[in-house]
Symmetry: D2
Subunit: 257 residues, 4 copies
């Protein structure tokens, strides 16, 4: 989207080589960044995306944040889904631009962000959580990333009351007891649509797959991803010593009637 | 995209529970599927996506193919990038709807398909390969998936002649010697844009990262993904015995000036 | 043990570079190897270990087989414990030269071979199985490896009748329901001795650990090992594409009263 | 070895359920343990291994330390080889009771301990290091474990001066440049004997294998082991979040003339 111009309300990533990007909303007038520094981006409004500014003695590129920028700068509540799992979940669920998808729960909004980014301006995400504080944090994170207009947040206990709405292209579940939602979820999916669950334990995995089989879901598949960072040295290249041993098990299944 | 209607030229996925989807172009009149069976989809034209048909005694849902449907039914030439790697590459590269991206080489069109699907109808993919037969296979696969209008294929030896064009949001390299392209690629990227390379060996990885450092790319990061399939039995759940031991190393880096 | 001399009844490994070792018992007179070839090792008796012979036009080193030679040439019945798991099981169980250990079941004798090799001539292994055909195969494999005199095989259903004997330094369980043996096994272990179980599913793992906790075993620890073969090419080094995705979960625990 | 009796100079493991074992030499008279507590084990001398004592209000089993007890209580200098790697190295190298093996370097004595334990009282280990302080620490650790009489330590730069001695059953190398020793090592191995190297980087791996091929070693094989700890909860079992991402690459090869 390299040729677009900045509008008021956009989210800007200020990027200087060697330091992480800083995400800032594009507003008129000075705004306080972090503890003390004052930044005024007013002049960027209407200019081409991808220029640069001088701020507190440093030159920054003024960029449209990418999905990985949004994820890496997110305010975290509880443990969030990792980028590798979110990326693969989206592909396994068959989610693309223009899709209408649901998720439960909202968590900190990390998966919501990935979904909202992927469905694009023509798509929509419905996000359910029964905890007001989770909804609040997720909404904040989506606003911070400039993607809030693609998401409807609903305070709802889907285990008790089911998934609301119908015709979803896909539904993603990041819940402790996903099996309790699958019956209502099946009715909420369009034909050929997919559900993906993300669960940390084998016990959850087994019980989820059992329910998917009982409900005659098709193309059921479970897997996990391990990400191994690599240390690249000059003449000393190896896998990194630090590694996350486990994130979660992914299960995907399809409604076919 | 659940509410759209079928148009002539769309690609349809016929799906019966328990069997893989069959991809068919939506044409007027009968067409031969596989060895002998004749299928006539004419009546679907103008109807809502997601209906069903009766064909050779079996009921099929008539679905819009998802990205995973496209990948799993692709005609393969040489070894293709796996779905997990393609999905994570897209996220690491920051690619989303509306983006303009390049890739070299085209391979069998698997990564091209993922890129074209992800950038959506508002985006564009430029795909370079110096081998006419690879371009031919990749183009066939994109046409088969109904995504060919989002891709420009160019016969070009990017190692000798560099990446053509400028202002790309991202460039993906699946080449034996990616380091030879990085200088021209840097000029072809917009500021803040990213390159991702996919290489099977440590030697390629080390040499690529060395070049990225010399060319002052930012946010350089290398990793690999391992996908572990899970066998879920009733009271007998475990990792699957079959597993692919290695696919490739991913390296991502960002141009920041 | 490089300085010993060959005795009648020893097992010999004939080794030619580039081909796997051939294991042969050292007997007087000609013996048939494989389909047709006749071999006479009579002259080796009394000679130093490590010499060489000429046989069917090829020179072979005449070696004492190592544990990995024994494992790689073993006649396999059902799936056997892999070398990596057997080696780590032995260390985790604290098994060394001179120890007296038990195992159930005997399987094909692969783990029995590792145990017998490790405890050395001063130690002893008691191996239980309720299936006569498993005991027969295991005994054959131990005889073939020249280690049968360190092992007592017992036809016994340890689930129904418990582990026989007391004062074992360690007990290894490769059974579908190891938890059913743990009570009798605790009585059969010396104080400070360890049990190690090897189970393919998480359900078995969880139930085993629950029983170990109920029976107040100490130092309970569960893990799995993944072996990743490496392909080393000149300028093309990488993990191998072929890899075994899963073998089994190891659990070790200690009796401390 | 459950029936033996304690002798002066043995090493004792004091073990109370729920706490790590405490290793103490068996001496006459009181000795200071840790900061302040005084322990007198004199009465154990001549008694059967496996009894118990009362000390500072707690009952301890008085056990012969196993190999895993020795490793887990070792005084560490630099990074040491992990237990899984040491156990598999021993099996791959074909090392068993009675063998005569060499290692370079001595490191902190962790691998030395595993080798000395495995070869048993009838075997022997020769350990080379060019750094006096490494030899000192390794020797201390072997004495602390009661295995020092099975090991000869030699201050020697094997890269410059080669492996000393001949007829070794196996040689283990934990050196930054193992390829520099392989020529002298080949001469020091008995026919059929094996070398195992342990290296953190792929660059070392590739260069080592190249040298092994040039020197016509047989049965060359490279691999790595990943240990994945398991968290076993009641109804909540999963791989642990903590995991070591990399230890080292193992290469084994055999001299066959």
């Amino acid at each position: 989207m390299g040729e677009s111009r900045w509008s008021e309300g956009d989210v800007v990533a200020l990027k200087h080589p060697g330091t992480p990007p800083i995400l800032v909303p594009l507003r008129r007038g000075p705004q306080r960044i972090g503890d003390a520094a004052i930044l005024d981006l007013t002049e960027q409004i209407g200019q081409a995306v991808g220029g640069s500014i001088e701020w507190v003695g440093t030159r920054y590129a003024v960029l449209r944040p990418s999905l990985s920028d949004l994820l890496s700068t997110m305010t975290r509540g509880a443990q969030i889904i990792t980028a590798k799992d979110a990326a693969y979940l989206v592909l396994l669920a068959g989610i693309g631009p223009g899709d209408r998808v649901a998720e439960a729960g909202s968590g900190s909004g990390a998966l919501t962000t990935v979904l909202a980014y992927t469905v694009g301006p023509a798509g929509h995400v419905v996000s359910f959580d029964r905890r007001p504080e989770a909804l609040h944090l997720a909404r904040q994170n989506l606003e911070r990333g400039g993607l809030a207009d693609r998401v409807s947040f609903h305070e709802r206990d889907v285990l008790a009351n089911g998934i609301e709405g119908t015709g979803y292209d896909a539904v993603a579940l990041d819940l402790p007891e996903p099996w309790g939602v699958l019956l209502s979820l099946r009715a909420a999916l369009r034909n050929g649509g997919r559900v993906v669950t993300y669960s940390p334990t084998y016990n959850q995995l087994e019980r989820t797959v059992r329910s998917l089989r009982e409900l005659r879901f098709d193309e059921i598949r479970s897997l996990e991803l391990l990400e191994r960072p690599l240390h690249v040295g000059e003449g000393g290249t190896r896998p990194a010593f630090e590694m996350l041993g486990h994130t979660g098990f992914l299960t995907v299944a399809r409604k076919v009637d």
